[in-house]
Symmetry: C2
Subunit: 379 residues, 2 copies
Amino acid sequence: MAALTFTLGARDGAARRGRLMTPHGVLDTPAFFPVGTFGAVRGISPADLLGAGVQGVLSNTYHLHLRPGEQVVRELGGLHGFMGWPGPMLTDSGGFQLHSLDHLARADEDGVRFKSPLDGSEHFLSPERAVEIQEALGADLIVCLDHFEPVADPPDPARERLLLERTLRWAARCKAVARREDQWLLGIVQGGGSPALRLESARRTAEIGFSGYAVGGLGLGESIEQRSALLESSLEPLAQDVPRYLMGIGTPEDLVEAIARGVDWFDCVVPTRNGRHGSVFTPDGPLNLRNARFRADPKPIDASCDCQACSGFSRAYLRHLIACGEALGTRLASLHNLQFYMRLMQDAREAIAEARFEAWRSAFRARYRGASPATDSAA
Amino acid sequence: MAALTFTLGARDGAARRGRLMTPHGVLDTPAFFPVGTFGAVRGISPADLLGAGVQGVLSNTYHLHLRPGEQVVRELGGLHGFMGWPGPMLTDSGGFQLHSLDHLARADEDGVRFKSPLDGSEHFLSPERAVEIQEALGADLIVCLDHFEPVADPPDPARERLLLERTLRWAARCKAVARREDQWLLGIVQGGGSPALRLESARRTAEIGFSGYAVGGLGLGESIEQRSALLESSLEPLAQDVPRYLMGIGTPEDLVEAIARGVDWFDCVVPTRNGRHGSVFTPDGPLNLRNARFRADPKPIDASCDCQACSGFSRAYLRHLIACGEALGTRLASLHNLQFYMRLMQDAREAIAEARFEAWRSAFRARYRGASPATDSAA
C-alpha cells in the first residue's frame, strides 16, 4: 500500500468530500492548514492545535531554510519531531516568499539567487534544492518550486508566457529528483490572470503527472468573481481522483466559494493574523474586538463556541489583552479563529456528504453577511 | 471566621512554613506569585498556570488603572472574573511604577499626580485612591501606597527621613479607608539603604497594625550581603504570626536566601522575563538557550522536569523559537521557569517542615552554582 492515499468520497456539484491518509494520520477534506511560519503557529502549542480540531499544519520552507536550517530540523527528527506535531504536515516551496518578500532575489532558468535578510548570506534555490530542502524537512506534502510574479498592470503576455513555461520546466525538474516515497510532491498551477493560461498550466502540469496539485498566484487583490473564474480554469483540466490545494487563501467566505469549485484543502494566515489584530470570526460575521462597544462586554466571542477563549473569557478581557499587545490575547483570539475554521470545514464536509452543500453555502453566506455590515471586514 | 487567615506551621531557624487561607483558596508558603502586568502572565493562560503548580498571581494596579480601568474590571467580576483566575491574587499599590517608570509624576504629601503614557491624561494617586482602586480590582491581598525612591549616591539622610515619615502617614491613611473585609491590606516597610531606618520603618508600620507586611525598595542593585542585612532589619520588628512579603525579588538564589531570613512570599518578573530572553533555570544553574551549543541539542531543558516545555520539546527547538521571536518559545520557556520556581518553593516548604532547611539550602546552592559558571547568570 502506498504511503499516502487520497480517497474521494461524496461529491455534491463540484464540491468534494475526501480523505487523505498520510504516514502521520488522516486529513479529512475539505481541510484547512494553519500556518506555522517559523515551525510554530504563533504562540499556539501542538496540544492547543489538537484541542481546536486542527488535523494538519503548514510550515514555510523559506523561513526554516534560513533558520535553523533544514539539516538541524532533519537531525531532530524532521519537522514532526522538531515541532512536536504528530499529524499531517505540508511545506511550501519557498517560491512565494522569494518573489514577494522584500529582499534581493534574482531568478533565471537555473533558479533563484537571494540574500538572507537575517545576515546577508548568499543562498540559491533551484527546483532541485527546493525538493532537497523539503525532503530534509520531512513534511508529508511538499510542493514544486514555481516562478511566481503578481500580474502586471497592464498585463504582459510575453512575461506570463515565460513564467508559465519556466514553471512547467521546473515542475519536471522537481519531479525528476524527488526521492522520498513517504512524501507527496504536488505540482503547481499558475498562469497569472489569464483563464486560458491557467487552463494550459493545469493541463500541462497534469501531463507531467503529480499525486496532487496546488493552485498558486491567487488572492492577490483580484475580485472574488475574477478569482473564481481563474480557479475554475485552474481546476478544470485536473482528474477528479487527485487532491487540489488552493494556496494562501483565505477568509471564511473565500473558503466556501472555493470548496464549491472543488478545492480540497487550504492554508492561510488569516485566522491567526486577524486574531492577533483583534478580528474574530462568528457565524454572524466577524467582530473587531478593538471596537469600543466591547469595552465592558461580559459575553464570550461566540456563545455557541467551546474553544479556550469562549469557554473562559469575555470579549472585554480579550479586547483589553489585544489593546495591550499581551500575547495571551493573540493566542486566545487565534485559537478561536482556528476552531471557527475547523468547524466551518467540518460543516462543509457534512453538507457535502449529505448532498445539501448548496443550501448550506447559501445559509452560511446569508447569516455571515446579514448581521455584519460590509465595513466590519475581517480580511 | 475571618475571610483570610495565616497559619504559621513549622519553623526552621528563621525560615517558616505557613498557609494563607483566602476567599479564593489556599496559598502554601513560602510561595511565589508570577506577575500578570496587564491582567495576564505574558501569553500564559490560567489553565497553564494551574498546570505549572501556580497558586497565586500578582497584577499591577498602575497598569490596570490606566487600562482598562478598575471600574471595567469590577463590572466584570473583579480581577478573578476578568482574568479567569480562580486562586489567590495580589495587587501592588502602583507606587513602584509611579516612582520608577519614565513618566511625569510629581509626589507631595497628598499623593502623586502623573500623566498617562498612553494618552497624556492626568491622574492622581493618593493613599486613599490606591486602596479604592485595589478594592475595585478585588485581589485578596492589597498593598498600601508608599513613596519610594532609589537610594541616592551619596545617601541623602534628610530625603530618606522624609520618605519614611510620609510612607508611615500614607500607611495610616490607607488603613483608615480600607473597607473590604474579604481583602487583606498589607503595610509596607521601606527605609532605603539604612538598616536603622528599616528597623524604624518596620516597628512603626507594625504599630499602625496590619494583617501582613510587604518589604519594598530592595533588589535595586545592592549586593546580596547588603540586601540580606536590610531584609533582616526590615523583618526583625515584625511579629512572627503575620506574613511577610518581599516585593519584586528575585532569582532562585535570592529566594532561598530570603526564605532563610523569614520571608513568606514573593513576586517577580524574573521567571517570565528571563524565559522570554531564552534564560531557563535548572537545578544545575541557568542555561542560556541562545547559546550556539544548543543549536541541535535534542535534550529537554531539564530531564527531571515534567513541564509542558520539557515534556515535548528539545532545547534546539526552543532555541529556534526564541531566536525567531516566536511567542510559543516565550510561553514554553516561561512556563518551564515558573514550574522551576514552584518546585523550588515546594522543596523549601518540605525542607522546613522536616527541619532540614539549612542542609537543603547548602545543597541547592552548591549544585546550582557548581555546574554553572558565574558568567552564565540568569538575572
